[in-house]
Amino acid sequence: MNLANLLNNYEEAVAMILFGIGFSNLLLQKNLIKKIIGLNIMDTAMYLFLALKGFVAGHKAPIVVDGVQSVEAYINPIPGGLVLTGIVVSVSVSALMLSLTIRLYRRYHTLDLDAITTQLKKEGL
């Protein structure tokens, strides 16, 4: 029963697996660039999930054409709006993380966050 549910909703399951991959990469990777890649996978998984939630099979994109205004004709537009907002947030956050990475790399010539911490402790700043 549960397995059948899972198979019927395999898209959502994929989104959650992707979220897990992204989350654990962001948490566990030492390399800063890999962390940022993990962040982007995590965010993208969320957009996939949201897009799936707005989709209704057989309905069209929510753009009014030929004067058809019935609710039955279109998919839910709100998740689309949320995804757009989420993308904007994700872009700015990634940009900030990348700029921080550049700063750290110029100073310490490594992308390994733990190595940077060790160097900092040696500096005793």
Binding site: L39, K53, T85, L96, L100, R107, L113, I116, L125
Partner: protein, 502 residues
């Protein structure tokens, strides 16, 4: 509709626009713009508070006159207005107290950028307080994170950049979980406005449908916000971020940024999920346990620390633990204690940071514990202020910290099966607090000749030499006394405010 009702929206938008405006001004002008904006918003929040007190009921402000399921909303009640006013006061004092350090530590051409960050931070805090829409809350959580990261790294050295990176990583993990929680909730309820979600959640919990998704969503949102506000196992970034950033950043971060997230969590508990559902779920037990561990581990770390700034930062972890323990009790009395602790900790921690920097100024800018010997004699006002802050943290009567400890203990006694753990944890944590704070107070009032320490770069600092910092310190001490001595009306205000949340 009275004009006053527009003020919450105007205050958000005013600080939001002051941010970009500061980017084209010179550092000095941006500073005045910032102080003016904080003052104006404080006055407006006070007016809103007065209005809500008079009318006695909360009101909803429709953005762009779109009615409920479509439009975005701002909701104002007693608690929201009071928090906005209080945040403005603390932020103003933090900016005032740290102005000398900012001019020393922030590079001249980048000074106005600092005010961009502060203005955006204020606007996001106000939006977190006032918004009635979960997704708007998420967006402003991110704005809050980004501007807080800017506040950390404005002082350019390896430590702060590393601290900012770690802060960003942990915050992003938290906001990822928070967003996932919102998505689940939107999925099962079909709404994003808090009031509408609550209606749906009520129906769902009565019929028992979608029980697990609701529980998962509540758990994800709680854990996400707990990560962002540095609850115990997620606190690794905190000491560096607070310990090495410039003074006003450290004070603002510890007293306001983490509190904004916690206030949002209170709103989610009361306005989105409903406190009955939250109490019946097991999520609050998790928060309770980690809160208690945080109270003890944070204090032990603080005892081991010899850098005074980092010591105060570790103490923040313990205090955040108190707040989550209050949530974990699962009673309204516990939440009131937590909300009171939000403001009492904000007033005290900012005071401690500013006072500690006054002490280090008199000790050749060294933050080392032993170099502070006798600093209370060299900078008298900072010494007194640090003592007041320490006594408040330990829970000495007359000061703000005492009232929150009393409220926690009373709330603990009311809840039958968590009573013992709460009281034991409070007792242990108070003793540990007393160990490191009193140790520091005794150290700063030990004359140098007695301790046998010889240092040449010790200087005397009088209150007149640093007027801004002195004014800030005096105001913080007064704020602590007001919270400690006049707590009765404030607690009643919180009670009424929480009732309005329902």
């Amino acid at each position: 509709m009275a004009f006053v009702q527009n003020l919450p929206f105007i205050s958000i938008i005013l600080s939001l626009f002051a941010g970009p405006l500061s980017s084209i001004l010179s550092g000095k002008k941006a500073k005045w713009v910032n102080l003016a904006v904080i003052t104006i918003i404080g006055c407006m929040s006070a007016a809103v508070l007065g209005f809500v007190m008079q009318s006695g009921k909360p009101y909803v402000y429709m953005m762009g006159h779109f009615p409920a399921p479509w439009g975005n909303e701002i909701r104002v009640g007693l608690l929201e207005a009071a928090m906005a006013l209080f945040f403005c006061i603390v932020m103003f004092l933090c900016m005032l107290g740290g102005s000398r350090e900012r001019s020393l530590e922030v590079e001249e051409p980048k000074e106005n950028l600092y005010y961009v960050m502060v203005n955006l931070l204020l606007s996001s805090l106000l939006a977190l307080i006032y918004t009635n829409d979960l997704f708007t809350a998420y967006v402003f959580v991110e704005i809050n994170t980004i501007s807080a990261c800017g506040l950390i790294m404005i002082r350019q050295n390896g430590r702060t950049i590393e601290a900012a990176t770690r802060y960003m990583i942990m915050s992003l993990l938290g906001s990822g979980l928070f967003l996932l929680g919102i998505c689940f909730l939107y999925d099962v309820t079909g709404h994003l406005l808090m009031s509408n979600i609550k209606e749906q959640v009520k129906i769902l919990s009565e019929t028992g449908t979608y029980h697990i998704p609701l529980l998962v969503s509540l758990g994800l949102m709680s854990i996400g916000l707990a990560i962002k506000s540095a609850l115990y196992p997620f606190h690794a970034w905190l000491p560096d971020a607070y310990g090495y950033s410039t003074l006003s950043s450290a004070a603002i971060l510890s007293s306001l940024v983490s509190k904004g997230y916690i206030f949002l969590l209170v709103k989610i508990f009361y306005r989105v999920i409903g406190f009955d559902v939250v109490r019946d779920s097991k999520v609050i037990n998790v928060l309770f346990v980690f809160g208690i561990i945080g109270m003890i581990v944070g204090s032990i770390d603080a005892i081991k620390e010899s850098n005074i700034r980092r010591m105060i930062a570790y103490s923040s972890i313990a205090q955040i633990g108190y707040i989550y323990m209050g949530f974990g009790l699962g009673t309204t009395a516990g939440v009131i204690a937590s909300v009171f602790h939000i403001i009492s900790h904000a007033a005290t921690k900012a005071l401690l940071f500013v006072a500690a920097s006054g002490l280090t100024d008199a000790s050749g800018d060294s933050t080392d514990f032993f170099d502070l010997t006798g600093a209370g004699y060299r900078n008298k006002l900072a010494g007194v202020a640090f003592t007041v802050g320490s006594l408040s943290m330990v829970g000495f009567p007359m000061f703000a910290g005492f009232i929150s400890k009393l409220l926690f203990a009373q709330a603990g006694v009311e809840s039958s099966h968590k009573m013992l753990m709460t009281l034991v944890a409070l007792a242990i944590s108070t003793v540990l607090n007393a160990v490191y704070f009193m140790k520091t107070v005794i150290r700063i009032y030990t004359p140098e000749w007695k301790a046998g320490i010889e240092k040449k770069n010790f200087t005397k600092v009088t209150a007149v030499q640093q007027p801004a910092k002195s004014v800030a310190l005096v105001c913080f001490i007064l704020l602590n006394l007001v919270l400690g001595l006049g707590s009765e009306p404030i607690i009643r205000l919180f009670e009424n405010g929480l009732k309005m949340f329902a």
